[in-house]
Amino acid sequence: MTERMISCSAAICEALTEEMARDEAIFIIGEDLVAHGGIFGQFRGLPERFPGRLIDSPISEACIVGAGLGAALTGMRPLVDMHFADFVTCAMDEIVNQTAKIRYMFGGQVKVPLVIWAPDGAGLSAAAHHSQSLESWFVHAPGLKVVVPSEPADVKGLLKAAIRDDDPVIFFQHKKLFAREGPVPEGEHIVPLGKAAVKRLGGNVTILTYGSGFYMSMEAANELAGMGIEAEVIDLRTLKPLDFGTIADSIKKTNRAVVVHEACLSGGFGAEVSARINSELFDYLDAPVLRVAAKDVPMPFSPRLENFVLPKAEDVIKAVRAVTYR
């Protein structure tokens, strides 16, 4: 079996090409899609392949999301491109009050097959308005599924699953990972929503992570191995619904957990995971659950400042050593 290496960008494109060819109800709406194949080139080739199905929109985020929602309610299966995840703030009513709640508040009358695709994350000196990781906001809005992939194979498989799902999905794609390559199966490759993946086996500690945190965690795990600490790394992939079963199985084995994410600490998803571990797995724990996250400030511009604010592999190593008392 030969492993084909492609980037996250190519994986996105491949998933969309396959899905759009399969289902005519799929279209993509957002800013700057056609001329450049998306602001990050993530949709390159699609405008030519599927004429009229990538729709350039005016800078009107509320109506971009609303257009996706209204179309989803009336027989289409849209993917909405937020341009930058930070701009969800301009469409919060449409995402949180409308998209998330419509099926529920109308008593389950209708399905909402909508994907809100949001490129997020820092590390590019893009400063405070183009660098955020806002996933925890949407975990707190019942009615949305929240996906944050890391590796290209998951990007492809989760995007295909998100598009096929009849519920609304907000899909965060880290900008710095667009070029990141990895093995990706060709053709039909679906990663079901709500399933975490154990990506590194280890018996001493469980590292729970997602998105860019995954790479940080793997780097840390490899270094930790040199110190005789074997970390089990779980890529959560979907934050809602959360695969707590996989988390629990691992912690019952390792008795220690560290949660790693790029989003800032307070009110981050790590707080939720930590709280659930404490309430459901307390008797299995040999140490408090620790969190590794960005510092609680808006993302600064200068590389030296940004680097200081963002979590790093060395922070993960420090946290793991603390919970393993090594």
Binding site: P58, S60, A67, T74, D93
Partner: protein, 323 residues
């Protein structure tokens, strides 16, 4: 659909208005009697807008409505039993008791939902319009909203988008003189909200919103235009909200004399007198229509009152199709 209105349709339109008035009056009474939880917003005095606009639509056309949306739902063919049951929080209601007065929808009738957020319907109707265009059908999508919503950013985003993409949308502003407690004359930069259409290069039409036939004619033209693929229209129906913003509103922002003045400009009385002049309606027919509507409403209340409350655990259902 032609803009001209047949005799039969005239009577049907009158009946629709009587039904809306009856429903709203009844809802007010049920609320006062403590039978409707939460709070409700009534459209008494604005019936001509709902009836006139919806009469220009087909069943497969879409509407998005507002917190003051009972009339639109009725005019689009909504089921009175399911509406009252929903208002009373019962399991048999349109939304199984999960929505209430501000969140009624019936997707089988193209009713994409009332909305608790002022201006929340604009982005959704853009999606419906875009979907119509992509699916290449000749449906039309209507967004009802108030004068207050015309100051939301979503209004301006939607007007622009509908214009550049020539979407088959009719924006219907029900200018009822107040956004909650705030007079339109204070909060809007223009006297006629329809003049805002000029900024988006689409037709803007202001009509007497208490004149049913004027509303019907203007809506009919705009709907025909949208169906022909010629793009959106902004229609402003000038009317008046005779009840408070919500039931129980102390209404310190206006005088009773002002309300009384508008009561003389009642859309039902005006249309009845038009029909009588044309000899399409007699006192006896009027009485018969009222009795029939009363009877339907009584049945709806009985249905709701005899309906079960939802089981508490049902609060956990209906969020996801694939949980």
């Amino acid at each position: 659909m032609k803009s001209s209105v047949s005799t039969r349709e005239m009577r049907r339109l009158y009946r629709t208005m009587v039904t809306i008035r009856g429903f709203e009056t009844l809802a007010g009474e049920l609320f006062a009697a403590g039978k409707i939880p939460g709070f409700i917003h009534l459209s008494i005095g604005q019936e001509a807008s709902a009836a006139g606009v919806c009469s220009a639509l087909r069943q497969d056309d879409y509407i998005a409505t507002t917190h003051r949306g009972h009339g639109h739902v009725i005019a689009k063919g909504g089921d009175l039993k399911k509406m009252i049951a929903e208002l009373m929080g019962r399991k048999t209601g349109y939304c199984k008791g999960k929505g209430g007065s501000m969140h009624i929808a019936d997707f089988s009738l193209g009713i994409l939902g009332a909305n608790g957020v002022v201006g929340g319907g604009f982005p959704i109707i853009i999606g419906a319009g875009l979907s119509i265009k992509l699916r290449r059908t000749d449906q039309v999508a209507v967004c009802f909203f108030g004068d207050g919503a015309s100051n939301r950013g979503t209004f301006h985003e939607a007007m622009n988008m509908a214009s550049i993409w020539k979407l088959p949308i009719l924006f219907v502003c029900e200018n009822n003189c107040y956004a909650s407690t705030t007079p339109t004359t204070y909060a809007c930069s223009v006297n006629n909200i329809a003049t805002r259409a000029a900024g988006y290069n689409i037709p803007g039409v202001t009509v007497d919103g208490n004149d049913l036939l004027a509303v019907r004619e203007a809506a009919g033209k705009a709907v025909d235009r949208a169906r022909r693929g010629e793009g959106p229209t902004l229609l402003e129906n000038k009317t008046y909200r005779r009840r408070g913003h919500f039931e129980g509103d102390p209404q310190k922002y206006r005088t009773q004399a002002e309300v009384a003045e508008w009561e003389k400009n009642d859309p039902l009385l005006r249309f009845a007198s038009v029909l009588k002049k044309k000899k399409l309606l007699t006192g006896e027919m009027e009485k018969e229509i009222r009795e029939q509507v009363d009877c339907e409403l009584k049945e709806a209340v009985a249905f709701a009152e005899q309906s079960e409350w939802p089981n508490p655990e049902e609060a956990l259902e209906d969020m996801f199709i694939n949980p």
